[in-house]
Symmetry: C2
Subunit: 157 residues, 2 copies
Amino acid sequence: MDAFTAADARVADATLAASRALLGVVARSVVATLDVVSLPQFRVLVMLSSAGPTRMGAVAERMGVIPSTFSRFIDRMVAGGWVERAASPDSRREVLLELTESGRRLVDDVTERRRADISAILSIMTPDQRTALQHALQAFADAAGEPQAADLLTLGL
Amino acid sequence: MDAFTAADARVADATLAASRALLGVVARSVVATLDVVSLPQFRVLVMLSSAGPTRMGAVAERMGVIPSTFSRFIDRMVAGGWVERAASPDSRREVLLELTESGRRLVDDVTERRRADISAILSIMTPDQRTALQHALQAFADAAGEPQAADLLTLGL
DNA sequence: TACAACAATTGTCTAATTACACATTACGGA
DNA sequence: TCCGTAATGTGTAATTAGACAATTGTTGTA
């Protein structure tokens, strides 16, 4: 069905270029926290924030590291006060990982900073542009699907 | 003046959601290379790719590490065949860092993978939606201004 | 009940990433 | 020319990341 014409390629390029501004917003919101937690650590926080308490092994797998490595990685995060180990109601050999108040606040702060940043940019645009943007981005997000949570996590975003 | 209405919030939410979808694309494109180079190393490649041959100290500074540290870090990248040291035409005490063919190809591959991913998503949308998205993102990019390259680099974008 | 499988951790090792202090070499102005 | 400074590199050490093996405790099952 020859879906990719030269025009399509141009649109893809233009989209990619324009989307860089959006990436800039995201990067800024995350970078501000890197003094506090490392990127891999932030990754775990984001994951727990969206998935809730999760078994150690499951998180390790999604992070793509071996459980032994992960256990000591989590030791440091526990020491930092971002997450804590908790007993699983299902089985006593399982250990659940969950955010502490600090951990949750940190993720929320990043999201909030990002949202504020976006709002500031939107306020410069005209109402018509805003409406058009909303519809266009919704279409894009729908097309992209509800996907790749795992991919996102790898970068910690 | 109550600038933030419910409608504004909806646009901001849509933008946030789209930013996550976009990040999925970016993350996926980078993740595939992490078997080959580490994230810090990839950041150097991205930087050299956009800035061209650059003095050691300048790269170290932009990476936020102390110059003395950087030398051995680069040793590993040279050993891996991704970058090479070159004499500076300006001064014999300066050492320029530049991408090798492999290094450039690696960055290009990531960009290409990213572009293909976007194309795939766009192909699901209607032509009208594609055009609308392109224009809307352009307006957003204009309003946002130039993203801080430093922020993007931190994430290897 | 005894035993295999499972989840998490700990022991041990290698290597990457970073810092700080110092050494080396090259410029550049007095 | 000579000396201060700049750019890079080395020595040493701490922290982190990662793998694999072995251990501990738990669960499920033959």
